[in-house]
């Protein structure tokens, strides 16, 4: 394989994908990739929102490792920097301000598009998937002109699932044609309900979930368009595509909306699919993995040596992946506004046991995800494994930096 592509969809819940059991047919294109993919059923994110998760995805490090700062610390090494040194061309296309040049995520890219100089609409504050695809198309046109082009690493990120949930009409019609909301009405739902984390009306929450689902359906179509661009330039056959998200989204599962500082599955249990165009059979991997393993996996796919600063391990070959637990950390904010006084929250998972520690009220939670997928039955006081799990989590919290 010559090239590697990382395709991330912001705020994509695992349970909306057909290939992970959803029955509503929201992601027919992504589902169709299954027979050429390795599907990871137990992949966890290092954090429940972009800033806590992307250090895992692009730098194989944890969020609070270099102090509590919003900008990407210069002490982190991006996968793009490692690849560029190995003479692999690197290009990034996204529209998430938290991952922009201003926040320091532009390092190591030969081409970095963060859309911050483009105009965006007042209601939808990012470049939509078709616009991102258009940029990728333009880049590939010139890059692949020469048949003998250098291998590349491409990272594309879509924002269309993220709030404010304002899906295009045609996709909303496919979800529920009876919903007749204007963009302004959807925007005011965002302002009045999501921003206020107002769960008082269950009907409204259900309606919001439908808008979200329509955004998923819309994004599936952008992924389809993206693959057809890869085919058009004849690169798909030489390329591995990793598809994942940074975090999920909550619709009242744990008394919240959007994605705050919590470590429950609707936020951190991620879809993760690795697509190989030359495979003829799909494979499912139930190993517990983390998005911190993505950069080492990318190095492996390029046949490059592991990089000592990366904390994760290559997920491929599956056989040699170490059976360790996974860890994540974030600031435990509970509204859309992170306060200086908000304290960290941590989780550690081993097999099907997950332990969570909130520093602000020094609370511990432990769940058996096999028996209790809702994470509602706290075992911390009753389980004999609690002390051992606490110890393991503390080892991570007090790790050497």
């Amino acid at each position: 394989m010559k090239n590697v592509i990382l395709l991330t969809v912001d705020a994509l819940r695992k349970d909306v994908l057909g290939c992970y059991g959803n029955k509503e047919g929201l992601t027919s294109f992504i589902d169709s990739l299954q027979n050429k993919s390795i599907k990871f059923t137990n992949a966890q994110s290092t954090g429940p929102y972009t800033q806590a998760s992307f250090p895992g995805i692009l730098t194989s490090s944890y969020y609070l490792e270099y102090g509590r700062q919003k900008k990407c610390s210069p002490r982190r090494t991006l996968i793009s920097e490692v690849l560029k040194k190995s003479r692999i061309t690197t290009a990034a296309f996204h529209s998430n301000p938290y991952l922009s040049n201003y926040f320091g995520w532009n390092r190591g890219w030969d081409f970095f598009y963060d859309s911050m100089q483009d105009e965006v609409s007042d209601k939808i504050p990012y470049i939509k998937g078709d616009g991102i695809n258009h940029k990728v198309d333009q880049w590939l046109t010139s890059y692949t002109k020469d048949d003998d082009y250098h291998p590349f690493f491409l990272w594309t990120h879509y924002m269309d699932v993220h709030e404010p949930y304002i899906p295009a009409k045609e996709y909303l019609n496919k979800i529920d044609p009876s919903i007749n909301l204007s963009e302004d009405e959807m925007l005011s739902l965002f302002k009045e309900v999501i921003l206020k984390r107002d769960l008082s009306n269950q009907k409204t929450v259900k309606l919001l979930k439908k808008l979200y689902d329509a955004g998923v359906r819309e994004t599936d179509n952008y992924v389809k368009e993206f693959f057809s661009i890869l085919k058009k330039y004849n690169v798909l056959k030489d390329t591995v595509v990793i598809i994942t998200t940074d975090h999920g989204d909550e619709f009242g599962e744990h008394n919240g909306l959007s994605h705050d500082g919590k470590m429950y599955s609707e936020l951190i249990n991620s879809p993760l699919i690795i697509y190989f165009d030359n495979r003829t059979q799909g494979e499912t991997c139930n190993n517990l993995v983390s998005n911190i393993d993505i950069p080492p996996t990318i190095l492996h796919l390029f046949n490059l040596e592991p990089f000592e600063k990366f904390r994760g391990h290559s997920m491929i070959p599956l056989k040699s992946y170490p059976q360790n637990g996974v860890f994540g950390e974030a600031i435990g904010k509970t509204s859309n506004h992170e306060k200086e006084t908000d304290k960290p929250i941590y989780f550690y998972q081993e097999n099907n046991l997950k332990i969570i520690y909130r520093e602000d009220n020094q609370s511990w939670e432990m769940y058996n995800l096999n028996k209790d997928s809702q994470e509602s039955n706290n075992l911390i006081k009753s389980s004999t494994k609690s002390e051992n799990m606490k110890k393991k989590l503390m080892t991570y919290i007090n790790r050497e930096q």
Partner: protein, 275 residues
């Protein structure tokens, strides 16, 4: 320049001219206006519109330029010189009230309460909630007041129905290649109008090919390395000392030299539900 480039250039110009002709079929030229910043794109655009006017015997619509209070002197000189040379009656627009409030002093804090009613209403419209902001043309509030508002006021006063702009689709990711005309509905403090970008299909490379092929004038800043000219304090050269057209136009973003704006990032994050 090789024959292929020449042939392509001819096609690009013909396509643009068709768009301009279509614009004049749909709108009375006296109800049109042309925006000109003095940059390479809007100069190319103006040059093409001017040709169509000469060919079709149409009076050139009003040409307007917006002084953001932070212009490069080289750009101002260029606008003055070329408008004389091309016999253009250039209209300079400016938000004078704002300049007054900061005594034309860059970076100086402007207190919202000192602004006139219209400017205050405009800030309210964009949900700008702070009591003061520094005078910078490309900050969120500054950009709105110094550019958007000035333009809207002009459209309103002059009853302009069509605005010629110089957007290029390779710069505007969100833009489809064939959307030459965009209609803007009337909104609060914004008059209804249509915008047309005849050079939408030009790439940055095409602009330079055209400039050299037809000996178009350009601002000397491009020669010393600037690729994109915005406000003075927020534009930086791409590669210093290397003329724009000799730089890696295909792989380095054109506006990489323009300062990334914290406020812009914050504003988008706010709209995404953070902070």
């Amino acid at each position: 320049m090789n024959e292929e480039v020449k042939k392509k250039n001819k096609e690009l110009i013909e396509k643009s001219k068709q768009v301009v002709r279509e614009a004049f079929e749909k709108f009375n030229p006296t109800k049109c206006a042309i925006t000109w910043t003095g940059g390479k794109d809007s100069t190319t655009n103006l040059w093409i519109i001017r040709q169509v006017c000469l060919e079709e015997n149409i009076n050139l619509p009003q040409v307007i330029t917006i002084d953001e209070g932070d212009a490069f002197p080289e750009i101002t000189d260029f606008l003055v010189t070329i408008s004389k040379k091309w016999h253009i009656d250039l209209k300079w627009l400016c938000n004078f009230n704002m300049l007054k409030c900061c005594q034309s002093h860059l970076g100086k804090d402007i207190h919202v309460k000192d602004l006139d009613e219209r400017n205050q209403a405009e800030l309210k419209r964009i949900e700008f909630e702070f009591k003061s902001f520094p005078f910078e043309a490309e900050s969120y509030a500054g950009n709105h007041l110094m550019k958007t508002v000035v333009l809207n006021k002009y459209l309103e006063k002059s009853n302009t129905e069509l605005l010629f702009m110089a957007l290029r689709s390779d710069e505007q990711a969100a833009r489809k290649e064939d959307e030459y005309f965009t209609h803007h509905k009337a909104g609060h403090l914004m008059p209804e109008h249509t915008r047309v970008s005849p050079i939408l299909h030009f790439t940055e490379r095409d602009i330079w090919d055209n400039t050299h092929l037809h000996n178009l004038p350009y601002c000397p800043l491009y020669k010393i390395g600037y690729r994109s000219l915005g406000a003075r304090t927020s534009s930086n050269p791409g590669e210093v000392g290397v003329p724009a057209w000799e730089q890696d136009l295909e792989n380095v973003p054109e506006r990489a030299g323009r300062r990334q704006d914290k406020e812009k990032a914050m504003e988008r994050l706010r709209k995404l539900g953070y902070m």
